[in-house]
Symmetry: C2
Subunit: 425 residues, 2 copies
Amino acid sequence: MKIALLGCGTVGSEVVRLMRMRTTELADRVGETVEIAGIAVRRAGKDRSHLGVADDLFTTDAIGLVKRPDIDVVVEVAGGIEPAKSWITTALAEGKSVVTANKALLAADGPALADAARAGNADLYYEAAAAAAIPLMRPLRDSFQGDTINQVLGIVNGTTNYICSRMSEAGISYGEALQEASDLGYAEADPTADVDGYDAAAKAALIASLAFHTHVDLSDVHREGIADLTPADIKAAADAGRVIKPLCIASRDDDGISVRVHPAMIPLGHPLANVNGAYNAVFIEAESAGRLMFYGAGAGGTETASAVLGDIVTVARNRRSGARAFPPEAAYGERTVKPIGKARTRYYVSLEVVDEPGVLARVAATFAHHGVSLATVHQTGRGEDAQLVVVTHYAPDEQLTATLDELKRLSLVHSVSSTMRVEGD
Amino acid sequence: MKIALLGCGTVGSEVVRLMRMRTTELADRVGETVEIAGIAVRRAGKDRSHLGVADDLFTTDAIGLVKRPDIDVVVEVAGGIEPAKSWITTALAEGKSVVTANKALLAADGPALADAARAGNADLYYEAAAAAAIPLMRPLRDSFQGDTINQVLGIVNGTTNYICSRMSEAGISYGEALQEASDLGYAEADPTADVDGYDAAAKAALIASLAFHTHVDLSDVHREGIADLTPADIKAAADAGRVIKPLCIASRDDDGISVRVHPAMIPLGHPLANVNGAYNAVFIEAESAGRLMFYGAGAGGTETASAVLGDIVTVARNRRSGARAFPPEAAYGERTVKPIGKARTRYYVSLEVVDEPGVLARVAATFAHHGVSLATVHQTGRGEDAQLVVVTHYAPDEQLTATLDELKRLSLVHSVSSTMRVEGD
C-alpha cells in the first residue's frame, strides 16, 4: 500500500517518524506493508535528513504525486483551503482514499468533499481534525448511530483552555495568561485563530454535522472569543461555585440545532470543570447512552499523527477488503441551524445597584418583561457595594440580551459588572 | 433488513423499545428499514404486551429463528455460554452478522467466535460487552490501530465502584456499602460476579485482547475481589493522598503483558480518582496519543441497548455495502501473558512496628533483600502506635509478596496493617 503524504510540518514529520518506527505493526494490522512513497513539500532543498527518508521521496509537485498511478492513499496534513482542496478532490476523483487533519477545509467544504468521496468510491477520514488523538469523529460517525445525541459540550482548543485555567488557578489577567501560553508554545505568535474562537468554530461545525446528521457550515457557528474575560468574571464564577471554560456547544431541540463557541460558566461538579491546562475533552449527552466524556491531549504533532495513522490503517484495510466507510453525509437530516438569538441559553448576570427598596423588584420585572424567568437571585453588599447576582433559566438568547440592554439603561443599576452564559447544569 | 433478537430481558426489552422509537432514524442511517422479525425467549406465554410487538414475533425456538432464511442479522442479549454460543456460531456459519453483549462468552471463546465470523464472512460486533455505551471496543479495534497502547486502567464494574466510592465518601464498612448498593439495585442478590471480580475479569480479557493484539483468555486474568477492603485501608489511602478504586489493569512491557483485576490505590489527581458512584471510566496510555480517558454509564438496560443499536447500524451498513469489519484477531500478536508473580507492580504497605532504633533499617533491608526498592517511607507515632508507611517502586509482584511474608515474620513488626497495590502514578 503506497501513501502520498502532502505536507511535512509538525504533524507530517511525526507521521513519517511513526510510520517508520511502526512499520511491522502497521503491516500486521493492515495485512500488507504500508509505505510512504512520496512527500509533497512547499520548499525543495530544505534539510530533512533527520527524517531518515530518501531525498528522492520529496517533491514540490503535490498534484503530480497525488496522480501517480502507484499511489493508493493520500494523507493531507498541509492545512489551509487551497491548494489542499484541489489535492483532495483530485485524489478522491481518482478513487484514492484520503486521510486529512484539515478542519478548516472540512468545515468550509465538507459536503463537497463527501460528494467527491462518494463519486470516487473512496474513503474520507478525518479523526485528527478535532481533538487530535481523542477518538471523537469515529464514535460520532459509528458508535452513536443507534442513539440520539442531544448535546455536545467540548473543550476543543488547548490554547484557550490553558488561558482560562491559568486565569482561574493563578488569578492572573487574560494578557498575562496569554503571555504564559505563548512562552510555553501553547499559543502561536498570532493567537487570533485560537483566542477569537475560529479554530474551535471549525471543530464545532464538524462535531455538530456528525452529531446531528445535518450539514453545519462554519458560517452557521456563532463565535465569541475569550479576550474580554476579566479577573472579575473569573472571581464571579468562583463565587457562584462555577468555573469559566472556553466551550464549543452543539445542542438540539425540537426547533432545530444551535452551534456556538463562547466562554461559559459551568458548575464545579461538571466533568469538564476539571479539564485544565492544554487538555481537551468532549462531553456528550445522548438520549439512551446518557452522559459520556472523552478526555485527552487535543493537540501536538505526535498526538495528531497517532489519529492520522489510525485513519491510515482503516482506509488501508478498507481498500484491501474492497469496503468503503458508510458516508456520514448520506444520512443528512434537514435540521434548521438556529441563529444565536433563537438559541436557548442561560445567563449569569451581576449588577451593581442602588441600595434602596424596590431595586430587586424592578430588576426582576425587567427580566419578566422579556419573558426570562430567574433560577436564583443573590443580593449582597450595602450602600455603594450593593450587588445583585442573577442566574436565569433557559430562554432565547435574544430575550436575554434585550434584558441586559434594558438593565443597563435603568437608573437603579450603576453597572452590569459581569455577564456570562451558563452551561452544564 | 431483518433482525433476530435472542433474549428479551432488561437489555433485550430496551433494544425492542428503542428500535421501535427510532425506526425512521435507523432507516435513514442504514439506508433501509431495519426491523425485528423475531424474538427468542426462554418462556412462552409471559405477558409482554408492554413491548407493543405482535405476539407471533415471540418464539422459544432460538435456533430455528437464527436459521430462518429471512433473518439477516442476529442480536444476542441472552448471556451465558450455552446455548448462546451455539446460536452465534450457527448464525455466523450462515453468513449472518452477529451483535452481542455477551462478555462471558467472548472472554471464554473469543477466538473461536472470531474464526466462525471469518469463515462465514460475517461481522461480529460487541461494543456493549464492556462499559455499556462508552465507546471502547471500537476505538480499540480501529482508532488506536496506528498507535501502541502501553496501559489500560479501567473502572469497568459499577457495583464495585459504587461500593468503593461509598466506603471513601461515607466512611462506612464494606458490608454497609454492599447493602446500600443492593438496596439501590446496583448489586444483585448474589453479588459474587461483581464483588469477586468475575465480571471485571471478563471485560479485562476483552480489553487486553484488543489493546495488545493478543488473545487473552479469561484464565490469564489475575483476579482479586474487594470483599476484604476495610475502613482502615480506605483511611490509609486517604492519608497517603490516594483513593482505592476497583481496577481492571492491562499493561505491556518488553517481557509480555499483564492483565489483572484488583483494588488499587491511585493518586487523588488521577483522572480516574473522581469517577464515583456506579460510573465507569477507562484510562488509556498510548505511546503517541498520550493519556486519554473515556467516561460514562457502564451499565443499565438503556445504555447497553444504545451500544447494541450502534453495532446493529454498523453491521447493517456493512451488509448493504458488502463490506465486513477487519477481523481484529487477524493481527493477533504472540505476546506472553505473564502470571501475576511476574507482573511489575508497586505496593503501599503500612506496618505497626516496635518503637526502637534500627527498625527502619531492618524493614528497609528486608525490601532490599528481595530486590524491591522504596519510593517513600514515612515513620509516624511513638511507642505502641509506631508505624511505618512504605510505598515501593515497581518490582515483580512475587518479590513484593515474598517481602511481605518475611516482614510478617519479623519480631520487630507487630503487624502488617494494610497492603495495597498502587497504580496510576
